[in-house]
Point group: C2
């Protein structure tokens, strides 16, 4: 278990002062030197605390001047909100809605605030190519031969290391490499459910999950989900007792789209609850590495003692979407998963797996991630501030605990048809995902998801302003 750091205590203290109003929006924080002196800690520790507050969107740094409480702080200090889906299992029809998205959507020059990936300019192209060249030289067959279904051994070792905690040790054999996170989720659902089964999910949830579930003929039972703390475990408990729920799929660490991160206590309670009903948890951990603090949040799987959690991840959100390298840590379902993968794709391509293994092994991955986390975090905050400025008053924007998407809720009293806004936006070269894709029920018509993966260049600034105008019917 991680011990609490000194900087965390300082950050917490300052956060309380901000939230309670003791420090007001626009007010300057004590200087780093001053705090170092009063608290008796090093300058580095204070910097880390301030940096943490900045990451949480509470303060903003002004060059040559210091740290200031953010003006927007009141906006996101709104109480957390709980979604209220109907407690019934729904058939899924998201693929029809996706088909009806306007054409021109995936044009290469579109201002892309839709697809949830970092901009290509943020990815370590040259260094990853270096890893690829290394493995081309070192692999005896240059990746030509069949790899075993469970995947390239060194990559499995690297992934296992990264998902290991002191009280939860994984081995390379715990990991199965997949063709992206989506194959991991598909396999996890295939081995735990049958067509027609009911599966509990968060609300709103990732449209891609709905698409996979639709393809497998599953029904969705949406759980009330809090924007800060995640799914309501009380309701989940009741639902498990009364409904034939066969599996639960959640993104406990930086959910997509709303961005909550469940606390460790909450994660453990979830795992224990599901274990008591003997229901598997499929944990979509694809954003787990994009944390805003100093340490990676624990996975739900790390609290699992019975092998009932199937963890899904990939490098698509942080390193190389086009490499299609993901993984599944399938717990007790390993044999079934490998059989199902044999029937589906046999195994993922060897070269991308080996290149990423080298990238991780040489430490390039950690260096890249340290940079990327900061950049993405700053982009998310910058997008957020701009949306609050450019969209109608009383627009609510999520304050994600990590990841790279924002969930935007337009004012309830604003009459707006997001399908029509989207059509106009795409016609002008701007893409985003409308909220109705993120549920099987008609509850998010006022919402949209904005991806903050691309650097906020003037082009993107204009795109957001334009989108604000379209929404406001200007």
């Amino acid at each position: 278990m991680k011990t609490a750091y000194r900087y965390e205590a300082i950050a917490k203290q300052l956060q309380q002062q901000i939230v309670s109003g003791l420090l007001k929006p626009g007010e300057r924080l004590p200087s780093v030197r001053q705090t170092s002196h009063t608290q008796g800690v090093s300058l580095t520790t204070v910097f880390r605390a301030y940096y943490e507050l900045e990451a949480r969107g509470l303060v903003v740094a002004r060059p040559q001047s210091g740290y200031y409480v953010r003006e927007v702080v009141n906006r996101f200090r709104q109480p957390s909100q709980l979604s209220k889906p109907q407690p019934i299992a729904m058939n899924i029809t998201v693929s029809q809605a996706l088909r009806q998205l306007p054409r021109g959507w995936s044009h290469p020059n579109v201002i892309d605030m839709a697809v949830a990936v970092p901009g290509l300019s943020l990815l370590p192209q040259a260094k990853l190519n270096k890893s690829l060249l290394t493995i081309l030289r070192h692999l005896p067959d240059s990746g030509l031969g069949y790899e075993t279904t469970c995947g390239f051994p060194e990559l499995r070792r690297q992934v296992a290391q990264r998902l290991t905690w002191a009280d939860h040790v994984l081995t390379p054999d715990s990991v199965v490499i997949t063709t992206g996170c989506i194959e991991a989720i598909t396999l996890a659902l295939r081995v735990t459910t049958k067509p027609g089964d009911m599966v509990a999910i968060e609300s709103p949830t990732y449209y891609g999950l709905l698409q996979v579930m639709e393809g497998l003929g599953l029904r969705a039972f949406e759980l009330p989900t809090d924007t800060q703390t995640g799914p309501d475990l009380e309701v989940l408990n009741q639902s498990l007792a009364t409904q034939p729920i066969r599996a639960v799929v959640l993104t406990p660490t930086f959910s997509n789209p709303i961005g909550y991160c469940m606390s460790d206590e909450h994660k453990k309670a979830l795992v224990d609850l599901l274990a008591s009903y003997d229901v598997p948890l499929i944990e979509d951990d694809v954003y787990g590495e994009l944390y805003a603090g100093y340490a990676r949040p624990r996975t739900c799987q790390s609290f699992d003692r019975v092998g009932r959690v199937l963890l899904c991840g990939s490098v698509s959100k942080v390193l190389a979407p086009g490499y299609r390298v993901g993984w599944l840590v399938p717990g007790r379902y390993r044999d079934e998963v490998i059989r199902a993968q044999l029937m589906q794709t046999n195994s993922p391509a060897t070269l991308p797996q080996a290149a990423i293994a080298d990238f991780m092994q040489t430490g390039r991955y950690e260096r890249h991630m340290r940079q990327l986390r900061v950049v993405i975090q700053q982009q998310v905050l910058a997008y957020r501030a701009l949306i609050l400025e450019a969209f109608p008053a009383n627009t609510h924007v999520s304050m994600p605990a990590g990841g790279l998407v924002l969930w935007v809720r337009l004012p309830d009293d604003l009459s707006v048809n997001l399908s029509s806004v989207l059509a106009q936006a795409v016609a002008q070269g701007i893409a985003f995902f409308p909220g109705y894709l993120f549920s099987t029920q008609p509850q998010y018509g006022q919402c949209l998801r904005i991806t903050c993966g691309q650097p906020l260049t003037q082009l993107y600034i204009n795109g957001i302003r334009k989108l604000g105008e379209l929404i406001s019917h200007i």
Copy 2:
């Protein structure tokens, strides 16, 4: 349409003389010069004719001496055989049989006559690496970004070109790139069937197809299949009229395991028959490029006018199994296929696709294939001759029209348990696939499949001899 070549006429004439006994086993053919003189054709034309006969296993070249009628010729001039599966739909349980294969099976140092791929030493590692380096330089994002689901455009163009005939032109948009041929088959079945459906297949058939069908909950209706001409179309016609067959899956060009190639007339008749019942054909064309003659046999799809044939292929059998690059030409099912793929893997990895596109575009692919076809063909003949020598008398070995596997039937009066032979073989480092994996019915207990992908080194010669001994209980 191809016009008949002069060399083909000469080859045909000589073949008739051999088959009729006019030219006897061991007898020397007229010299190339002599035939050139008597037939009034160039030396090159005669060489091509003799080469063709060699490819068909009818003659053998002896250096500095000439061409001789093969000794084994009588053995394979056996009348073709028709399998006789029960005309009932069967549930599939192949995955259990696969799980029970002995351990040690996939040890790297095993004498591998199981997995159907060419030996690594036959693959153009250095030249494919060149293509990979080229695209690393030329692709602006080095393959880091998401590719569209349907695949890398230049690869789709190259594949479309290769599957185009004068009266059947494909475009890049006709092609969807997949993660290997197995994903293509899975997708094709997913868009044409539902769990519980009945699907007609050849008998014996590829165990991997059975595995996919089992995973999708399909039932198998096995068709009587001739070792020379393929499935019995008369029976298929009757079955379509009386059984709820939802799709047909065949490998019309070099079936796996028996190696037949349907004639063009037969292929056209099959396509017309299925069109009259409005039943889709899933054409597994993964061995189509491994032909023994001078031209690639036409695909069934090339006779299709209504978009009801879904063609599946890959580079796994000829170029780079570990690249996991396959394709599906889905006819009228394109939209459904792309949706199903989105739900399964999103898209295949970009780099391997782009490398293979370059490899094809630069002509390296054709040069490689010209060499590989000859080598594989010679290996198949050499394996075949050795098996006939090393296995019990009256063993029947298929004479495949193309591809790289042999189907071996032990004498009916030989009492042998192939599960136990396999266990002993694997214990001694030798792997093959037993015949019972290739059907849902207990009809191939006397059969085994031998892959001829690895060069027939002394190690492999010893392996085959050892296997012959194990089978003969010596």
